[in-house]
Symmetry: C2
Subunit: 236 residues, 2 copies
Amino acid sequence: MASTHILSAYDEELQYLTRRISEMGGLAEQMCTDAVRALVNSDSALAQKVIADDVGLDQSEREIQEKAIITIARRQPVAADLREIVGSLRIAADLERVGDLGKNTAKRVIAVQGGVPRKLARGLEHLSDLALVQLKEVLDVYVSRSVEKAEAIRLRDEEIDAMYTSLFRELLTYMMEDPRNITTCTHLLFCAKNIERIGDHATNIAETIYYMTTGAQPEGERPKDDTSNTLGAANS
Amino acid sequence: MASTHILSAYDEELQYLTRRISEMGGLAEQMCTDAVRALVNSDSALAQKVIADDVGLDQSEREIQEKAIITIARRQPVAADLREIVGSLRIAADLERVGDLGKNTAKRVIAVQGGVPRKLARGLEHLSDLALVQLKEVLDVYVSRSVEKAEAIRLRDEEIDAMYTSLFRELLTYMMEDPRNITTCTHLLFCAKNIERIGDHATNIAETIYYMTTGAQPEGERPKDDTSNTLGAANS
C-alpha cells in the first residue's frame, strides 16, 4: 500500500508539470498571436495586455523549475522519469523565451503607429501563422508523445526560415524605395526576426520531446534555411 | 570517516560545477570579443572560429545540466546547497545564450564585407566594451559572491541600454542619408541588439548570484533604459 501511495503521489507530480507546461504553451501562443494582431492593427491596448501577460509566464517558468527540482531531490528518478523532468525544465525555458519574443514585438507597436503597409502586414501575418502552427503542433505532440510527429515538426522549420528571408528582403526594398519607411521597417525587421525565432523554439521543443521519449538526440543536421544573416549588400 | 568522505565528494561536485561555469564564461566572453573584432575588421576566418566555438559552448551547457541533475538526485540538497546547483543551471543557460549572440554577430560578418564605417565601428566597439566589462565583472562576482557587487552590476545595465539606443538612432540616420547603407546598417542593427542583450544576460547572472547567496530575489525594479523599442517614426 505504502509503495502504491508513493508512486501515485509521484505520478501526480509529473502530471502537475505536464499540465503547467501545457498552460504555459497556451499562454505563450496567445501572446504571440495578440502581439502580431496588435502590430498590424496598431492596437496599443492589446500590446499592453501582451506585455502584462509576460509577467505571469515568467512566474510560471519559475514555479515549474522549483517543482521540478523538488521532485528530482525527493524522488531521485532515473532513466525515462528523469528525462521527463529534465525535459519539462527545457520546454518551460523555451516557452518563457517565446513569451519574451511576443513581448518584444508588442513593445514595438507604439513605434509603428504610422501603421504597417498592407503587403508587409500580410507577410508578417503569414510568417506568424506558420510559426504559431509549429508551436501549436509541438504542444500537441508534447501531450501525444509521437516521435514521428516531433521529427516532422523539426524538419519543417526551414519553411519558416525561407519565408523570413523573403520578408527580410522585402523590408529592405521598402526602406530603399523611400527613406521615410526606414524607422518603421527597422522595427518590423526586429518583429519578423522575433517571429522566426518562435519557430526555432518550437524546433527545440520537438527535439526535447524526442529526447524525453527515446533518450536520444534526433539524428541528422537540423535544417537551416535562414540565409538572411549572410544576405550581401548587393541586389537585395 | 564515511560522512567526511561523502561531504568531500559532494564539495568536489559543487566545485566541478563552479569550475565548468567559469570556463563557459571565459569562452563566451572570448567569442563575443572575437565576433565584434571580426565584424569591424571584416575578418571572415575569425568569424568562422566564433561559429565553431559555439558547438563547444552548447556541449558544456549540456554537461553542466547533466551533472547538476545527477547531483540533485544523489545528494538531495536543501537551502543554500540547492540554490547553488539551481543557480548553476540558470547561469549556464545565460552563458549559452551569450554564445549564441556572439555566433549570430559572427554570421553577419560576411554580409557586411563592404566594411563598417569607422564611426559606427567605434560605436559598436564601445557598446561591446561596456557589455563585456559587465560580463567579466559578473563572472568575477560568481567567484567572490559579493552581494554588493552583484547589485552594482545589475544597476549598471542602463548605461549599456542608453548607449544602444544612441547607436540605434545613429544607424537609422546613416540609412536615411544614403540608401546604399541600408543593408549593411540593418545587419549592424542586429549586431548592436545582440551586444545589448549580452548586458541583459550579465544582469540575469547578477540576479542569480544574488539569489544563490541570499535566497531572495533582488529588490526594486530592474532599471530599463533601452528606449529604442518605442522610438517613433518621426525625427529619429
